[in-house]
């Protein structure tokens, strides 16, 4: 799929961040499928389900997040497995119950462009997370994704998470990422 994307975009260096050169809006079916994928991703992260989380990525998918970069499903699953183990280890007696790091993410405002051939897409989406027994918004940001369709099913070829609370994971305020892809990601280290 990455080869397909590169071929379609033809500007190799920009390929990983730019929308497909020849892009169109998603069909209803594509949007529905990609929304479903987003739901699977969020349930998997919120329930700390490493295999289901990794399964939302292509086999050679890339996750770029606050803790670094994971390549391939095994490494990506390990990110969630480590998070789960860390939370369980940190849970104190009587606290490994309803707290224990439980939080929930919410995704909205998806902007999707699909390559003309329908086999790859780019996506921007907002997220925020709330947590705690006295719940509050704990963080928010957005996702910048490349998607690929394999055997009729969409996967994340790459997902880059932006978090406005985390040093180095925020964005410029005055550049709408939808219309300023060339300014994109200036605050994120590759």
């Amino acid at each position: 799929m990455r080869m397909l994307t590169l071929a379609a975009v033809s500007v190799a260096l920009a390929a990983s961040l730019a929308a497909p050169a020849v892009a169109r809006k998603p069909t209803a079916q594509e949007k529905a499928d990609i929304e479903t994928l987003a739901g699977h991703y969020i349930f998997a992260i919120d329930w700390r389900d490493p295999e289901a989380y990794a399964a939302t990525f292509a086999p050679d998918g890339v996750l770029n997040y606050g803790g670094g970069q994971a390549v391939g499903r095994e490494e990506i699953a390990t990110v969630i497995r480590s998070l789960r183990e860390r939370e369980l280890a940190n849970a104190e007696d009587g606290e490994e119950t309803r707290g224990g790091g439980y939080n929930q993410h919410f995704v909205s405002n998806m902007v999707i462009d699909v390559a003309e051939d329908g086999n790859s897409a780019t996506e921007l989406a907002y997220w925020f997370a709330i947590s705690g027994e006295d719940p509050a918004i704990s963080s928010f940001g957005h996702y910048k994704d490349e998607l690929v369709k394999i055997d009729g099913e969409w996967f994340y070829a790459s997902r880059r998470t932006y978090n406005e609370q985390a040093e180095g994971r925020g964005t410029f305020h005055f550049f709408n990422p939808v219309t300023n892809p060339e300014r994109y990601g200036a605050h994120v280290e590759d």
Binding site: T27, A28, Q29, E30, K31, A32, D33, E35, T36, L37, A38, G39, H40, I42, F43, A44, D46, W47, D49, P50, E51, A52, A54, A55, T56, P59, G72, R73, E74, A77, T97, R98, G100, Y102, Q104, H105, F106, V107, S108, I130, E133, P135, A136, I137, E153
Partner: protein, 205 residues
């Protein structure tokens, strides 16, 4: 379906590394042609649900369920539309203790939805969060959050809730923390166990 997932999880390392990967949901996935239209209509149903709750519209709320629909909520269970409407009639704003009536607002996102091959029933899980300003200063707060496990049926071309199980992480009796990812248990008769069911000695809220 649960057996399939357990089998898949048992071979976790191999499955994750394998090119075929892990099934995201049912096997095979139920995203047949027409899925987009069903999903759009069910998203509309969820939108109507949130608006009915937030604007205290008991009749509108009940109309989203089948005549024999089931609602499981933080304080119990309602069987049938009449009982659901009566329950929803109890939605009232908080006391007039502030500069203006308080409001609450529900957002429902992250919908994972599967439609049966015949297109007449569907199951979904989704997450919800309630923002409110139910304090004297009308300061915006997050009140509750949780998820729902829903069964839908299509009757005369229109989708309804056949049953809706609401989980609430602010209530031990309706919390699902510590349980499996509910996506792995779609199409099972039993909903996800609540945290209290798994921890029966707990005596808190």
């Amino acid at each position: 379906m649960r057996a399939l997932f357990i089998a898949a999880a048992g071979a976790a390392a191999g499955a994750v590394a394998g090119a075929a990967g892990v099934s995201l949901a049912s096997d095979p996935p139920m995203y047949r042609a027409g899925y987009a239209e069903d999903r759009a209509q069910i998203e509309d149903l969820l939108g109507r649900y949130a608006l009915a709750v937030d604007f205290n519209d008991a009749e509108g709320y009940g109309a989203l369920f089948t005549e024999d629909g089931v609602l499981v909520h933080g304080n119990g269970r309602e069987d049938g539309r009449d009982a659901i409407v009566e329950f929803a009639s109890g939605f009232v704003p908080d006391p007039e203790d502030g500069v203006r009536p308080s409001r609450y607002q529900h957002n429902i996102t992250n919908l994972v939805l599967e439609v049966a091959p015949d297109g007449l029933s569907a199951e979904g899980v989704a997450e919800w969060v309630q923002a409110d300003n139910a304090n004297p200063e009308r300061r915006t707060e997050i009140g509750y959050f949780g998820h729902s496990e829903d069964k839908y049926v299509k009757i005369d071309g229109r989708w309804y809730f056949a049953s809706r199980e609401i989980f609430n992480e602010g209530l031990a009796r309706r919390a699902a923390s510590g349980q499996d990812n509910p996506v792995r248990h779609m199409w099972e008769d039993a909903p996800t166990p609540t945290w209290l069911e798994a921890n029966p000695d707990y005596t808190g809220n």
